[in-house]
Symmetry: D2
Subunit: 348 residues, 4 copies
Amino acid sequence: MSKLNIGIVGATGYTGVELLRLLAQHPHAQVQIITSRGEAGVHIADYFPSLRGVYDLRFQDPEHADLSQCDVVFFATPHGVAMRDAPALLEKGVKVVDLSADFRLQDVPTWEKWYGMPFTAQAALKQAVYGISELNRAQIQQAQLVANAGCYPTCVSLPLIPLLKNKVLQDGMPIISDCKSGVSGAGRKAAVGTLLCEAGDNFKAYGVAGHRHLPEIRQTIALFDEKLAEKFIFVPHLTPMIRGMHATTYVHVQDNINPHDLIADFYSGSPFVDVMPIGSTPETRSVRGANICRIAAQRAPEYTDNVWILMSVQDNLVKGAAGQAVQNMNLMCGLPETAGLSQVALLP
Amino acid sequence: MSKLNIGIVGATGYTGVELLRLLAQHPHAQVQIITSRGEAGVHIADYFPSLRGVYDLRFQDPEHADLSQCDVVFFATPHGVAMRDAPALLEKGVKVVDLSADFRLQDVPTWEKWYGMPFTAQAALKQAVYGISELNRAQIQQAQLVANAGCYPTCVSLPLIPLLKNKVLQDGMPIISDCKSGVSGAGRKAAVGTLLCEAGDNFKAYGVAGHRHLPEIRQTIALFDEKLAEKFIFVPHLTPMIRGMHATTYVHVQDNINPHDLIADFYSGSPFVDVMPIGSTPETRSVRGANICRIAAQRAPEYTDNVWILMSVQDNLVKGAAGQAVQNMNLMCGLPETAGLSQVALLP
Amino acid sequence: MSKLNIGIVGATGYTGVELLRLLAQHPHAQVQIITSRGEAGVHIADYFPSLRGVYDLRFQDPEHADLSQCDVVFFATPHGVAMRDAPALLEKGVKVVDLSADFRLQDVPTWEKWYGMPFTAQAALKQAVYGISELNRAQIQQAQLVANAGCYPTCVSLPLIPLLKNKVLQDGMPIISDCKSGVSGAGRKAAVGTLLCEAGDNFKAYGVAGHRHLPEIRQTIALFDEKLAEKFIFVPHLTPMIRGMHATTYVHVQDNINPHDLIADFYSGSPFVDVMPIGSTPETRSVRGANICRIAAQRAPEYTDNVWILMSVQDNLVKGAAGQAVQNMNLMCGLPETAGLSQVALLP
Amino acid sequence: MSKLNIGIVGATGYTGVELLRLLAQHPHAQVQIITSRGEAGVHIADYFPSLRGVYDLRFQDPEHADLSQCDVVFFATPHGVAMRDAPALLEKGVKVVDLSADFRLQDVPTWEKWYGMPFTAQAALKQAVYGISELNRAQIQQAQLVANAGCYPTCVSLPLIPLLKNKVLQDGMPIISDCKSGVSGAGRKAAVGTLLCEAGDNFKAYGVAGHRHLPEIRQTIALFDEKLAEKFIFVPHLTPMIRGMHATTYVHVQDNINPHDLIADFYSGSPFVDVMPIGSTPETRSVRGANICRIAAQRAPEYTDNVWILMSVQDNLVKGAAGQAVQNMNLMCGLPETAGLSQVALLP
C-alpha cells in the first residue's frame, strides 16, 4: 500500500511540529511538503532539533509549494489562512484538515463577531465537518474538509456529549466548565505573557469576558439542546506547564441518573477516550504525548441535588490538536482510526 | 516598647519557615523558641539555609521547651497537637495562634468526622475565634486563642463574605468554587505524590469526594445563610507551582446587583484585601510572598442570568497561613494590623 | 518471528515505567512478568495511569514470579538485588540487562568502597559486559549479562571515547565534566529533597565530595589511558526539570586537532549518537523521550591553549537508562539495534 | 533625615521592577520618577500588579522627565542608553548607578568589540567605579558613577577575588567557570527562546563561542594577575527556573593552601557574602529575593593535584543586579551598607 502524500501549511508552530512528530511514525502517511513564509529554505532539522535525523525536508514558500499534489493537507495556521487557501485545494480533490478555527462555526455572523474579520469561504463551510472524531465519526469518514475541533471544545465536549445525547441534564441549570491549559496552547510566538518568567510559577484566569471557544462549545451543546447551550459558562485558566489540559465541568443531572455509566457506555468503542472507574481523578501527565482524552466523573459530595463533577484531561497538542487531526485524517482516508497514534504517554 | 516573645511549635514545615521569614522583619516581635521533636538540637540555619545569618536559634524538644514564657505561641503542626498542648498554655495566659485545623470547626461531631480522631479540647474551643482577620477583626482583638483559617477557606470566603452579608445571592442556586493550589499546600513531608517528577508539569483535581475545607467554608457561609451553605460545592486542584492559590467561584446574584462594588466597598478599609477594577484577572504571582488576597469579579459573558465569576488569589503560605497568622497576632496584641507585613510581592 | 518474552524486576520506579513505555512499542518483544514486592497483585494500570489500555499485567511478588521462563530479564532495582538474583537466571540461560550498578565496576574493592556492601557475584561479574552500546557493541552482541551504564557515565563518556581512542588529549591536564541532571535521576521514592517545593525553581550541586559515577567514568577512561583517568573531575548538579541531562566537559586537546570531526567520524555509523555541526548547542528537550545522545563541540573562545568544550545531552531515563537497556537487549538478541526505539523526541 | 530622591530610567524590565520592590522598603530612599518610552502615562500598578498599593507613580516619557532633580538615578536600560544620557546628569551632580554594561569595561576597544557600537562617553568612563561592592567598597563610597557589575561577573568573581588577592592560584592552569542562570537573566522582552514552552523543562548552554561577561570577568582577574586572566574559561547555561544563578568554578590552588579559609576570612566583614562550612553545597533558592552571594568550596575528591571546586549562588536579579545596585547606592550616599536590604530569602 502506497503512503499518503501529506502537506503541512504553517509547520513552524507547536501544532506543526506535533503533526511532524506523529506522522513520522505513521505507517500509511509521509510528509512531503512543509511550508512557512518566514522560514522558506530552512531545513526542518535546523529549526526543530528534535527532528534531526527524522526528516530531510526544507520549508517551502507557500506561494510556490505545489500542495495540490498532496493527498491530505493540514493547515496549522492562524485563522484566516485556511479560509483563503483551502478552497482551491478542495477543488483539486485534496483532502483538508484545518487545525485553525476557520471552519468550526457554522453560523457566519457568529464567526465574524468572535474572529473579527469577514468570512469568505461559504461554499467550503457547507461541506466542512466539525472534527471531534467521536462526535462525527461517520460524517468525517465521508468528508473532504474537516474543521479540527479546538482544544478546549474537545476536552469539554467529550464528557458532555453522552449526557446531552441521553437528555439527562436538568433544564435551566448552569453547565459550568472551569478549564486549565498548559502554556503551549498559546502557541509559539514571541510574547511577553508566555515567557517562562511571566507564566512560570503563576496561575491565572484569562478570557473571562469572552473566549472564542465559548461559541464553539455552545454550538456542540446546541446540537442536542439549544436551551442548555445558553446555560453554558466557560472560564479558561493558564497553568504553569507546557502541555496538558484539564476541564472540570459541573452539571446538574436528573435524579437517579449516573452519568459515569452513560459516559463509559458511550465511549466503549472509542479507542481514544478512556473512562476511569468512579473515584478516580485523571492527571494531565497520564496523557502527555498520547492521543487520549481521559475522563472521570464524581458526584458532588455532601450535596442534596444530583450535581456531578466531570473531569477530563488531554494533551492539548495531541487529542486537542495534532493527534485528533491525524485521527480525523485516518477516518477521512479509510485507514484504521488508530494508525500512527499508538504513542504511550511520557510519564514522568 | 519591648518586643513580644514568640514561640513556634513545629517549625520544620513550610508554614514554620514562613513564620520565621515574616517575624524576622517584625518590629515588635522576636522569635525566642522553636520546637521540633525530630530536629531537637539542630541549628535553624543548618536546617533552612535561607535563614543563615537571620536567626541564631536551635530547635528545642517540645517536651522541654518552656513555651509558657512566651507572649504568643504559634502552632504550625499537624492536627491533634494544638488540641493537646494549647490548653495548658492558655491557662498560663499565653496567647495562641493555631495554624492547624484543631479549632476551626465549632461543631465537634463535624470535626471528628472529617479529621478522624476524638476532639478533646472543648473548653478551649469555646474561646477560639475563627481567624479570617477581615471577618472577625473585632473578636480577634479580644481573643486569646485564634484558629487561623485554612488556606482554601480564606481564599474562597473573602470574596463571598460581602455578598453573603448583603444577602444578594440567589436562593437555591449553587455556589461553585473551583480552586487551584500550589504544591506547598501539601506541606514539607516526604511523599511520592508531591515529588517534582510527579507534581511537576501536571495538573489534577484531588479530594473531589470530600475535602476537609468543605465543612470549614460551609461554616462561614452558614454564619449568614444556612441554606446557601448547603449549596456550596468545592473542588481543589493541584497546580505545578510552589506557592499560590487561585479560587474561581461561580455565584448566582440577584438581578441588578453588581457584586464587584459590594466587595470593593466592604474591603475599603482592609489593608490586605485588594479589589481590582472590573475587567481585571488576578495572577497568583502578584502576591507571591506578600500578605494579600487580590480579588476580581466579572459577570459571566453571553449569559442570561446574573452569574458572576469571582477570582481570588493569595500566597497560600502567607495570607493563606503564616501571614494571616501574624496579622491575627497583631490584632490580638493591639499592634498595628500591618506590622511586619509590608513585604512586596516577588515578581518575577 | 515469535516475540521475546520479557521480565522486569522492580517495575515501580522511573526506569521501570520507562522500560514499559518503550517495550510496548517494540515489534519483537513482549513484557510478560513485572515484579514488585510492595505492589504485588496491583494492576499496572492502577499504578501508572499512563499505561491504562496499554498493558494488562499485574505486579507479581518476586518470590513467586517464574522469571526463568523469560528470554530477557531487566533489573530496574536498587543496587544489591541483581547481584543476588541474577546469577540463578543466568544459569538457566536467561539473558539479563541490569540497570542497577551491580556489575558496572570490574574492580570489586572499588565497588565495595563506593556502594558500601560486600560484593557477592564474582562469577557473574566475569561475564558482565559494560553496557555503553557504542563502546562495546561487539561484546554486547555476545553477552548474556550486560551492566547497563549509569546515566552520567553514558552522557560523559560518549563524547570522550573518540578522543581517548585517538589519543589526542594532552597528558597531565584535567578533564572536567560539569554535569546537570533532571530530578528523575533521583528515582521515584518519597524524599524531601526531591519534592517539587524543594527541587523546583532551584539549582544546586550535589555529591561534590564524591559521587558513585566518578569511578565508573574513570574505569572507561582507563580503558584507553590510565593516567588520564586520574585527571578526571566530576561535579553533578540537580536542575529543576523532570527529564534530561547535560554534560559540559572541558578537555585539553593536542595542537592542531579538531575533536569535533573525530567525534563525528567515530559515530557516523551509530544510530543513537547525533553529532551536531560546529557552533551548535544541544538542548536536553531535543531528546526528551528519545533514545539519543546529542553532542556538540566548541573550542574555548579567546583562549590560547587548545581547550574544547564538549556538550552532550540525553534523556536520562532513555539513552541514560531504559532506552540504552533496550538497545543493549537488541544487540544481545540479534535484533536490529534500532528495534522499538524510533520514538521522536517530545518538543515542546 | 530626609529621604533620597530616586529616579529609575527604564523601569519596565525585571531589574526595574526589582529596584522598585527593594526601594519600597528602603528607609532612606523614595522613588519619585520612573521612565519608559513605551509606557509613558501608564500607572505602575497597572503594569506590575505586584506593586498595586505600593507605589502611586506613572511612567514618564524620558524626554520630559526631570531626572536632574533626583539625588540618585538608576539606569535599568539596554546598553547604549546610559552612555548617552548619564553624562548630563553627572554634570548636574546627580549620582548614577548604571545597571547596564556601558561603563563596566575600562578598555574602550574591548567594549566596542563585544557590544558592537561606538563608545561615546570617555569622560564619564574615567570616573566610573566598577560596582562589585565587596571589591571596590572604598572607591564606591567616593564615586559619583558606579558601573554595577554584571550578574555572572558578580557570582564568579566573589569567590575568586580572595584567592587572586592572596596569589594562591597556580600559574598556567585554567580557571574554568561553568555557570547556570535562571531565565530572568534574559530580561523581559518578547522572544521565542525564553517562552515557558521553549526554556521550561530544558537545559542548554549558550554563548559558548563568546559571551560579553567573559571580558568583564577577565578584567577583574587581571587586576590581580594578567596572565591568569587569559586562562579564564566561561560557559553560561540556561536553567529552567525564574531566578537564581549558580557558578561552579574549578581552580588549581598551590599546595597546602585551603581556599575555603581564605574566602571566609576575606568576607568576614561583608554582610552580603556568606561563606558556608566545608562540605556544604549552596542552593540558589536559599538566596531567592535576598541580596546575598552564598559560597562553598570543596576540594576535588580522589584527585592528586590541589584542585578546588568553588560554588557560588545568588539571585541574579538581587545581588546580581538590583540589590547590588542599592548596596552601591548605600555606599555612595554614606548610608549603612545594609539599608533596605534585609529581605529574607523566600523559601520554598
